[in-house]
């Protein structure tokens, strides 16, 4: 039952992805609200699945790779639905809807179920810590999506190749602002999330867990976001350079995550 409801949500995200891709391939001027509405339908199914998980296992789907990826996909879908409210920003669904679909499908393949391991750091503070960190990561996903669209749109305008990207993508200014706000919100959330985890480990363990790969990766992500923000607010940088830093930083952190996943195979309860 649980898997079926998650699968329904994934199907909606896939359908929305097809809708966005079709309009883009036809070089139509921007996305309509239909894509966001389909994602919202998926979001309802996804929320229902998360509620089922919680009632079935007595904890929110945040611990373990499958559950945490599913929750990450939920937040990405939430971002797509929220962006769907803005006429000029809803085209971001072209990148974000497939991400939500892919992440949820990966979670389904891995298996969305608790790890069964006992955690030392439990309760509402753990939920808040993970939730804030996820908002931080999703903020960065949105910022990176907007920044990559900015770079593509910039290239089209500069080289006067006014095809599907020109027609479908939002204006440069919109993409720049979106990337900026997503980065600011993401950074603030990730900072709070890391601070919460840090405060807990200092309080109960006397120091930061530098040996924990996920902690190292989170700090790396935080530093990369800080650099991207610095590039954005530095006086000498243009919006295009800020977008480049944003995409490059996100790429580095993503690759670092994949490497960490390959190297570390045990003891990871979250991502």
């Amino acid at each position: 039952m649980l898997v079926a409801v998650y699968a329904i949500a994934a199907a909606f995200y896939l359908a929305a992805s097809v809708r966005y891709a079709t309009r883009f391939a036809r070089a139509q001027p921007g996305a309509t609200a239909v894509g966001a509405v389909i994602v919202s339908a998926g979001l309802l199914a996804h929320l229902a699945a998360s509620g089922l998980y919680w009632s079935q296992f007595g904890e929110p789907p945040l611990v373990g790779l499958g559950p945490s990826l599913a929750s990450l996909a939920l937040l990405v879908a939430l971002a797509v639905a929220a962006l769907g409210l803005s006429t000029s920003a809803r085209s971001l669904g072209l990148i974000l809807a497939p991400i939500a679909a892919a992440v949820l499908l990966i979670a389904l393949v891995i298996g969305i179920e608790p790890t069964g391991s006992e955690l030392e750091f439990r309760g509402r503070w753990l939920v808040l810590h993970i939730f804030l960190a996820f908002i931080g990561y999703v903020g960065w996903v949105v910022a990176a999506a907007a920044a990559s669209m900015y770079l593509l749109q910039f290239r089209q305008l500069k080289h006067k190749q006014l095809g599907a990207v020109f027609e479908f993508f939002p204006p440069l200014e919109t993409l720049d602002r979106l990337a900026e706000w997503a980065l600011i919100i993401g950074f603030a959330a990730l900072t709070l999330g890391i601070w919460l985890g840090w405060a807990w480990t200092i309080r109960f363990e006397g120091g930061f867990r530098w040996s924990d790969p996920k902690v190292v990766w989170a700090v790396l992500a935080w530093l990369a976001m800080l650099l991207a923000l610095w590039a954005r607010f530095s006086r000498s940088r243009t919006a295009r350079q800020a977008a480049l830093w944003n995409v490059a930083g996100f790429g580095v952190v993503f690759v670092a995550y994949l490497v960490a996943k390959l190297i570390v195979t045990e003891g990871q309860f979250f991502l």
């Binding site: 305008l157 006014l162 440069l172 243009t238 919006a239």
Partner: protein, 431 residues
């Protein structure tokens, strides 16, 4: 032959002739009322834009009404180099309806698929609807005709891509500016050289929200005139470089024989790297801006050729949508025409119903007179029964008569109905 359109457009007359035929908004109510007061005109609407002046007419006597409308148009134009008839066209019946649908859809416009015409036709229809009493210009048929036309225009725009993409150099410049800046509200524009195309482009940009405008030209009086028109500021030609660092959009259209903005001077005058984008529209020939400037970071330079490429590509795309639009129009003309021919059956159906109802009432009164013992409630029940029986009995024949009329078989079927039920020949069903 009840429908006709009489008028001229950009295909039949040049601008200097079209402007003589044009009616100002103040003149239109009287011109329309005059048309309605002509013999043989049942309904009328007058569309007058910069590209067309057309009377749409629903006529009872076309042979006498159309020459009067032609005369009215000739009077309006006055003192033409050639007879008015040389510029005018008259389309009738199916062709007139199809013409209206094509006009509203932008298929008959100078710029294929332009959208303003829909609003202009809507305004003309609303004006005609506002006339009342003896001057009443719109009744059932024109209400249906114009509502159908406006709906066809909407369908064509929603179901095809006929109106997508910029269709002129100024609108292409605006489209690009919007893709760079998003909203143009509060943006600062600089116009170098106050030529016609530059002014047109500026007009489009101001319409989109560009609020601060600097105009510079060799002739400061000309610059001042243009600046005044857009609430901007005129500056001496020698001072335009000082304005550049604060500018978002530059439109150049001078007649200078060499580039006015060279790479070397641009770099000297704008030493710091451009933090925000600069959009330059160079519509001068020869070009006012050295093309290498377009390679600088954050500078988007488009020449007249670039813009015309965009317009041409959009035009080709619009043309490719024509078959879809034509199909919608053909279907909708057929649908309207079926509805209209179906109206021919209305007098016969009305007579049939009146005749049958008269019989029903007569028989009912006779029967009830013999049943005096019945209560009021029972009498009411019997009356309801008779009405219900009559409705059920007449439903199928009237539906069939109407359907036959819509299919163009009205003569045979109406003749048969009149013969069977001994009815008279009636007219004016649309009223």
């Amino acid at each position: 032959m009840p429908f006709a359109v009489v008028g001229l457009n950009h295909r039949t007359a040049p601008i200097e002739i079209r402007e003589r035929f044009a009616f100002s908004p103040d003149e239109m109510p009287d011109a329309l009322a005059q048309a309605i007061l002509n013999n043989g005109v049942r309904e009328a609407t007058l569309v007058s834009t910069c590209n067309r002046t057309e009377y749409y007419l629903h006529l009872s006597e076309p042979d006498s009404a159309i020459p009067q409308i032609v005369d009215a148009l000739a009077d309006q134009a006055d003192d033409l180099p050639k007879p008015a008839e040389r510029y005018l066209y008259i389309k009738r019946e199916h062709d007139a309806v199809e013409h209206l649908f094509r006009v509203v859809s932008g298929l008959d416009s100078m710029v294929l698929g332009e959208v303003q015409i829909q609003g202009q036709v809507r305004d003309a229809y609303e004006l005609a609807r506002s006339l009342t009493g003896q001057r009443q210009a719109v009744r059932a048929v024109f209400n249906r005709l114009f509502q159908s036309a406006l709906s066809v225009g909407g369908r064509v725009r929603n179901e095809t891509r006929l109106s997508e993409g910029a269709a002129s150099v100024p609108s292409a410049a605006v489209e690009l500016a919007r893709k760079i800046f998003g909203s143009l509200r509060g943006r600062r524009g600089l116009v170098l050289g106050a030529g016609n195309m530059g002014e047109l482009t500026l007009e489009c940009l101001v319409d989109e929200g560009v609020s601060s405008v600097i105009v510079t030209s060799r002739s400061i009086s000309r610059a001042q005139k243009v600046a005044d028109r857009f609430g901007g500021q005129a500056v001496a030609f020698s001072d335009f470089w000082d304005q550049l660092p604060e500018t978002d959009i530059i439109v150049t259209s001078t007649a200078a024989p060499h580039a006015m903005i060279t790479l070397e001077e641009f770099k000297q005058r704008m030493p710091r790297k451009l933090k925000s984008p600069l959009f330059i529209v160079d519509i001068a020939i020869p070009r006012d801006v050295e093309p290498e400037i377009g390679d600088l970071p954050n500078v988007f330079l488009y020449s007249i050729d670039d813009l015309q490429h965009i317009v041409s590509a959009n035009f080709e795309r619009r043309k490719a949508e024509l078959p879809k639009a034509e199909k919608i129009i053909t279907d909708e003309v057929d649908r309207f025409w079926r509805w209209y021919t179906g109206l021919q059956a209305v007098p016969t159906i009305r007579q049939l119903r009146d005749r049958a109802d008269g019989m029903r009432q007569g028989e009912l009164e006779r029967t009830l007179a013999q049943l005096k013992h019945l209560s009021d409630a029972d009498r009411e029940k019997i009356e309801r029964l008779s009405t219900s029986l009559l409705k059920k009995f007449l439903h199928q024949p009237t539906a069939r008569i109407r359907a036959a009329a819509e299919d163009g078989r009205e003569h045979d079927v109406l003749d048969a109905a009149r013969f069977l039920f001994d009815l008279e020949e009636g007219t004016g069903g649309e009223e």
